[in-house]
Amino acid sequence: MGSFKLGKMTLSSLFKQPETILYPTVAKKAPAGLKGHIENDIGVCILCGICEKTCPAGALRVDKKENYWAIDRFRCVQCAACTRACPKACLAMRPSYMKPSASMSEDVFFKPAPSEDELAAKEARKAAKLEAAMKAKAARQEMQEG
């Protein structure tokens, strides 16, 4: 007959907490670094398209003229390559999974039009840059003639 080798483990399983949790009543706490889904801070995004070229699954679509950034959640493999390639660091990986859905769709995010203050600030920056460039050119000319 032999001894019951798994006896100790079986007996202790009777009295320990079960290994499983009662999902969906109890949800598992997602660890902080979990690769769940991609989010884009669209205000900071400059629609350069580098993330679209980096994506190995072809899940991103960026259109600068039409002013949107779109992600096909079904194609995304949560590799986070886009978050590392983004020059403005506006993409981030959030630790929660997307819920199942009944139809295939793409999430499109339109970039909002810049507000009055932002426009004014942009104009001021441009004017300042132009003035600085003209001054530098004048200085160079003087050095050449002199």
Binding site: K126, L130, M134
Partner: protein, 229 residues
Amino acid sequence: MGHNRTFQDVAVEDLLDLATKLDKDGWRAVQVLCTSTDNGIDLTYSFARDEDLANYQVRGVTKDTQVPSLQGMFLGLFPFENEAKDLFGVNITGMVLDFAGEFYQTSMSEPMTILSPEAKARKDKAAKAAAAKAAKESKEPKDGAGGALTEEEIEAKVAGLPPEKAEKLRTALRAKAQKAGKPAEKPAPKAMTEEEIEAKVAGLPPEKAEKLRAALLAKAKQASEEQQA
């Protein structure tokens, strides 16, 4: 650190003798791989013993080359040789376990020799660039001997192009003329009139138009000052 790796070329005729010698010396067959090239298929046989990993490459195998099978000595190579036959169309004869083309049941024969459209486009572009470079290099001495291009020749070259490209090409040719030794016949920059400036910025988006207008105005001012001076 890791295996000592070597790559060597070997001819198809010597393959069987090489394999017999390696088998006698106690080498283990690692794998066989095929690479599709323009001159046919390159086969790479890898063998390992203790710390050494030796790769032997057979170049340019075509459909009518008969490659002897090594399964007699190394039976472990049967999946790779059958794969070579199915996916690359290599003619391997004398196999111990021969699946006669049915190992991978693919819908098209020799799929690995077919280039995808993106890869083909990239390859054509690279070939065109290489050909253009070679042509240019063979033409260069003629240009250099004849002297730099004059301004009329430059203008002739940029005649038919859109404005931004024309500007770019013009500056590039002027720079080249300067480099070729003859003092650059840089003409006095004509002071551009307002209409000419407006014509240039016509088709551009607003921010770019602003920038270009400002730059051209500054240049026009400078040119007119030089002309006066």
